[in-house]
Assembly symmetry: C2
Homo-oligomer: 331 residues x 2
């Protein structure tokens, strides 16, 4: 395997500002006190759930910029993606900002992909300040990928619940904040999972693949990190990842958590937990960044995984490939 997947940043771009938003269901999360804005109504005065998702994305971008005491004009690039067809949430949100826009698609790995690409562009000095963001919305995603909401379809026990939420980080070589020291980009991995209601199983192998490559390339082990956090593997996916890693000689211990697994409470009956690109974006840009700033965590490995399917690929009998991108955030 090429060591080229991993980039060690010389200038170590800083996360100078971050902002998070969450939906009503997410307000019951034990992490809710860390969320910047919690919506009471997930339509948020919009005419559609897609428009609400876009409004959430615009809101986190604008507020992360404002929190950094800047205007949108001060931002050199917006690096963004989401789950909707043709990433309309990102592109239409970018329309609001008179700024260079680089659209990405990495499904639920988007927060890590945008931060990894953004860190490259800032570290190299091409851009001074970039905004990296993503969001997802339960109702827009559910009706696009699965069933009309009105059907009230029964969910299988391996299902996860798409998080209504999002987050934005502002990266810069100057200023204060946690540093992005390393990025490990992922490869597409496919273990032949075909059940679109079992995303954890589809994505766990890609998390393993990127994680192992990252440990090899950086000559580190799980013990070198205060926190290893995956995006939205959910309860089952996280267990599969722990097993896969152990099989490969790496023990993920108490310092490992999965955003999807822990974002909802057991009483919320989401089965395997949260999913969606907003899941890890929300958790990273609230609780995780906050705890790094407070120096409870000083070295965090953040790995977001994406399931690279579409309704068309599933209808045509394809399995579900996954990808995982990783960054290291240090104090």
């Amino acid at each position: 395997m090429s060591s080229k997947q991993t980039i060690i940043f010389k200038n170590q771009p800083k996360i100078i500002s971050s902002y998070s938003i969450a939906g009503p269901k997410e307000s019951y999360s034990v992490f809710a006190p860390y969320f910047d804005l919690v919506l009471k109504d997930d339509l948020w005065d919009c005419d559609s759930y897609e428009m609400a998702e876009r409004k959430m994305l615009e809101h986190v971008i604008f507020n992360a910029i404002e929190r950094a005491k800047m205007n949108p004009k001060d931002i050199d690039a917006l690096i963004c993606g989401d789950l909707l067809n043709q990433i309309i949430s990102s592109s239409f949100a970018a329309r609001k900002f008179d700024v260079t826009y680089i659209g990405l698609f990495g499904a639920c790995s988007t927060m890590a992909e945008s931060l990894a690409v953004g860190a490259c562009l800032v570290d190299a000095g091409y851009f001074d300040k970039v905004a990296c963001a993503t969001a997802s919305h339960f109702s827009s995603v559910e009706r696009q990928f699965r069933m009309p909401l009105e059907l009230g379809s029964q969910r299988p026990p391996t299902a996860q619940w798409t998080v209504t939420g999002g987050g934005c980080s502002i990266l810069s070589n100057v200023g204060k904040g946690p540093k992005i020291t390393t990025a490990t980009f992922g490869k597409v991995v496919d273990y032949n999972i075909t059940d679109a209601n079992n995303m954890g199983a589809a994505m766990a192998p890609s998390a393993m693949n990127t994680m192992i490559q990252h440990f090899i390339n950086t000559n580190t082990t799980p013990d070198d990190y205060d926190l290893i956090v995956t995006g939205d593997l959910g309860k089952l996916g996280a267990e599969i990842l722990i097993d896969l890693m152990e099989y490969n000689g790496y023990k993920l211990g108490q310092n490992y958590m999965d955003c999807g697994h822990c974002i909802y409470t057991n009483e919320q009956n989401t089965f395997m937990g949260g999913s969606g690109c907003g899941c890890s974006a929300l958790m990273l840009n609230s609780y995780i960044i906050q705890k790094i700033r407070e120096k409870q965590y000083n070295k965090v490995l953040f790995i977001a995984t994406g399931a690279l399917l579409s309704t068309t690929s599933s209808f045509q009998g394809e399995s579900i490939p996954g990808i995982a991108h990783a960054i290291v955030i240090e104090n």
Copy 2:
């Protein structure tokens, strides 16, 4: 306007290899002698048009790598995107290559976006060799964005025809080939066009926006380029762009061409010409690169435009935002 949209490359990454593929309809193009492979059957022994599109993408990536006398293992990253929901052509094609994958979405601007991002990552030394690619297929795109093919819907006079085709460029700091000297990333621009059958009008303002910013940032004029080539504005879009540029004091003369406008012959009745991310990918990686290698063109401004709509955004009454990314290729 920020001058930060434009990046001047110090190491000037080279296009060490390129490969193109075209469909049956495209075989009647006056540029067909430059296409590397022309398909006789656009299903290409696949079970679906989506699978054929993916096979085309795999084929151009593999053959561009082979033409550079390398194996897929020698490539450090694959930077790719396409028009299908969740860019399944790219992600599933990436599954075939054991290589870092960065998925993008820029609609029909993808070839320029992938080359601009790829050139940044190679120029900065993060990766040694990257493959930048995209493809589109008339039948997969038409039935996803517009109507079932079997309906045989009448097309309005402003319509364009999605090109079945694709291309791949391999970038490297070492080796021989045309150099990417500059990239100008675009902003999202929306002139409130709502007709999804008039992509040229929707995208021309974004081409103007990026082009003017590029000329200002690089202190150049249209006369400084042997060739200025836009992606898939089509006949009407190209005329609108010429008008918009003239209104802003820039005269696009004989050195300007649009890939969509000129890829089909008049007898083919495609109305405004070709479109799709494969249109400019095919033309760049065949005729244009070839003519640069032959030194007929020594400085080319390549601008690919994308219409950032989805069926959902159109159904919900939204207008069509556009984006244009540009690169300069020099001998």
